[in-house]
């Protein structure tokens, strides 16, 4: 894995091995978690449950991978969960109206992307702090979606469309293939393209990035658009899996997505993190939540645990910085 290697082009070599070490720690943590869970519950190490974990992790990963790019620039996108709600409801309407899953999927992706572009414009052009701008957007989306749906549910989609969320290919759920695809594409984009490296540069030092001639505003808009589009992707898979659309469909997913990115080693201060790290983060978080499920812990505990994990992950990051 040379993923972590290119993070900070031009930075001292020590950083390189440190990032690698961080990643290994996280993989170890995931491994230990698996070991503990397989000892604690017989149901854990069954093929069914493993595939289930992967499928759940894939939903989280879609959302978290777009968010990773935002966090790499030192921003935050709190609107992703609400974005899922709006995109899913719009996509569902189009599928119902036209009977075409392709048109519906495109609508969902476009809606997510448009919301992301609005976020990007607010952050880059109006210079509103990202967490406030996207927090405002969260409530705008929430309101619009609830008004649009009027408390209704749209359900019952063509079987072909539902395959995206609940189908299997060679015994492995289709969302897992999508996850691997986005993992590879995201990693290549972030590590191997000029734009990707510019995103790291913006997060590491926005002023220096501007002075070296990187079109910071345009890259920021791009990053938020990506995040929105990935929320669109998540909404489609979610829709296909649930076979129904409601206004509050993705509301509970914002905090876990942020948690996945932070567990994956990205820093809220920008410039540090990888898409692969986020993948590992999504896996770890899903393992924790899955384990709680298997051990019959009340689902009410999930937000509490996720909240504590978020804080703990940020604290780890800060702690690591102080030492370095």
């Amino acid at each position: 894995m040379s993923l972590a290697g290119d993070i900070s082009a031009g930075a001292p070599r020590i950083h390189l091995s440190q990032d690698m070490r961080q990643l290994i720690y996280r993989l170890l943590a995931a491994g230990l978690l698996c070991l503990a869970l397989s000892l604690a519950s017989e149901a854990f190490l069954t093929a069914n449950n493993i595939l289930n974990v992967l499928r759940q992790a894939s939903l989280l990963f879609f959302l978290a991978s777009g968010l990773t790019l935002v966090i790499l620039t030192g921003g935050l996108d709190l609107s992703v969960g609400a974005n899922i709600g709006l995109s899913a409801c719009l996509a569902a309407t189009v599928i119902k109206a036209t009977g075409s899953p392709v048109l519906g999927t495109l609508t969902g992706l476009a809606a997510g992307c448009m919301v992301g572009i609005c976020n990007g414009l607010m952050v880059a052009k109006l210079r509103i702090p990202s967490f406030i701008a996207t927090y405002g957007m969260l409530w705008v989306l929430h309101g619009v979606t609830y008004y649009y749906m009027g408390g209704e549910t749209i359900h019952g989609f063509p079987p072909g469309f539902r395959q995206i969320g609940s189908g299997y290919f060679l015994g492995i759920p289709i969302p897992v293939y999508l996850m691997v695809g986005f993992l590879v594409a995201g990693t290549l984009f972030a590590q191997r393209t000029v734009w990707g490296q510019q995103i790291y540069a913006i997060g590491a030092n926005p002023l220096a990035a501007r002075l070296t001639g990187i079109p910071v505003d345009r890259r920021l808009i791009l990053v938020y658009a990506f995040s929105g589009a990935m929320a669109g992707v998540a909404s489609i898979v979610f829709l296909a899996r649930l076979n129904s659309a409601e206004g509050d469909i993705g509301e509970a997913m914002t905090l876990p997505a942020i948690a996945a990115v932070l567990i994956g080693g990205a820093s809220l201060f920008g410039g540090v993190g990888t898409v692969f790290g986020t993948f590992v983060g999504a896996l770890i978080l899903t393992l924790v939540l899955n384990g709680m499920n298997l051990l019959a812990v009340n689902a009410s505990w999930q937000p509490l645990v996720t909240g504590v994990i978020v804080i703990f992950a940020v604290w780890l990051d800060m702690h690591g910085r102080k030492k370095a």
Binding site: F131, I132, Y147, L255, P303, L304, T306, G307, V308, M318
Partner: protein, 317 residues
């Protein structure tokens, strides 16, 4: 950034109080659009309904002045309300219930403050995490059910009045005066201005600003506990999702009121007007039978607009 902070007095009134224009404009709009808006009953209704929001927005102003944010306030209010309701139902003592609610608020304030000041975690993430924790706890203590069977005397806190002035208005006015004095006439208030504007100066002056910062968040938690009393009394029950998202209205009111997110400039009277603006907006849209979801969207748009103006103003100066 630090140069700019040094050259500017910590508290500065906005050149044009945009919030006053917004408040007057909205009031005028609703007065024309809906016949019932200007009735005495409705106006006092707006005041009464705005008090819970004011109790959150006042400490939120101080928190935002320290370049902080408390996203957990709505969830903590919900949890405190449930604790109050459960305690009152099981013991019959309002004082115990209120103590429990304020205790919950203080505990969460302490945790928030410790995360922000002690561990230097960015406030919006720290309080996002505690928001999840408080929401989870609210579901756990209530088992996802409403708490009903609250004694009638609790309702008095919200529906009673003294000399014709409704209790909530008295409570709101009292706390407004308290925060005004606290911010503008005490050393604590001066330090809060410095916390946002010039933290280095506090360190150099030998002020233990971390403790100060923790106490600001604890103040926010305690106020959420007090607001929980009014909310429980108003709804006559405790509900595990009652005040979820209410911190957004509070942040909106503070942002509308011209308190800046970046420089430690705060304006308590602006917050009061911001609260009334949100109150008038919600009330007027209610009278026009606009669904609550659209109201939320309107407030969101209003906040983004206010922040845009805030950015414009700071770019000019």
């Amino acid at each position: 950034m630090s140069d700019a902070a040094l050259s500017r007095a910590p508290v500065r009134l906005p050149a044009v109080p945009g919030v006053a224009v917004a408040l007057a404009g909205l009031a005028l709009l609703f007065a024309v659009a809906t016949p019932g808006f200007l009735s005495a009953g409705n106006l006092s209704n707006i005041m009464v309904q705005s008090v819970i929001l004011l109790l959150l927005a006042l400490p939120m102003t101080l928190i935002i002045m320290t370049e902080g944010l408390d996203l957990s306030m709505g969830a903590v209010l919900t949890l405190a309300s449930l604790v109050l309701a459960l305690t009152v139902v099981s013991t019959g003592s309002l004082m115990l219930g209120l103590a429990g609610a304020v205790g919950v608020g203080l505990a969460f304030g302490l945790i928030n403050g410790w995360l922000v000041a002690g561990l230097s975690i960015p406030p919006f993430v720290a309080t996002l995490g505690t928001m999840g924790a408080a929401q989870g706890l609210a579901l756990i203590v209530s088992d996802g059910q409403s708490v009903v069977g609250i004694p009638r005397f609790v309702r008095q806190a919200y529906s009673g009045d003294v000399l014709g002035i409704p209790n909530p208005v008295l409570i709101g006015a009292g706390f407004y005066a308290l925060f005004h004095v606290l911010l503008y006439h005490t050393r604590f208030g001066t330090y809060i201005c410095a916390l946002g504007g010039n933290r280095d100066a506090l360190t150099l002056a030998g002020v233990k600003w971390k403790r100060l910062l923790v106490s600001v968040y604890m103040l926010g938690g305690a106020m959420a506990g007090i607001a929980a009393l009014l909310m429980t009394a108003r709804m006559n029950s405790g509900h595990p999702t009652a005040a979820i998202g209410m911190e957004f209205d509070a942040i909106a009111a503070v942002a509308l009121g011209g308190t800046s997110f970046e420089k430690g400039n705060g304006w308590i009277f602006g917050t009061l007007m911001g609260v009334l603006t949100v109150g008038v907006l919600r009330n007027g849209l209610n009278l026009m039978a606009v669904p609550s979801s659209v109201q939320v969207a309107c407030i969101g748009a209003l906040v983004i607009f206010a922040l845009f103006l805030d950015g414009m103003r700071s770019h000019k100066s």
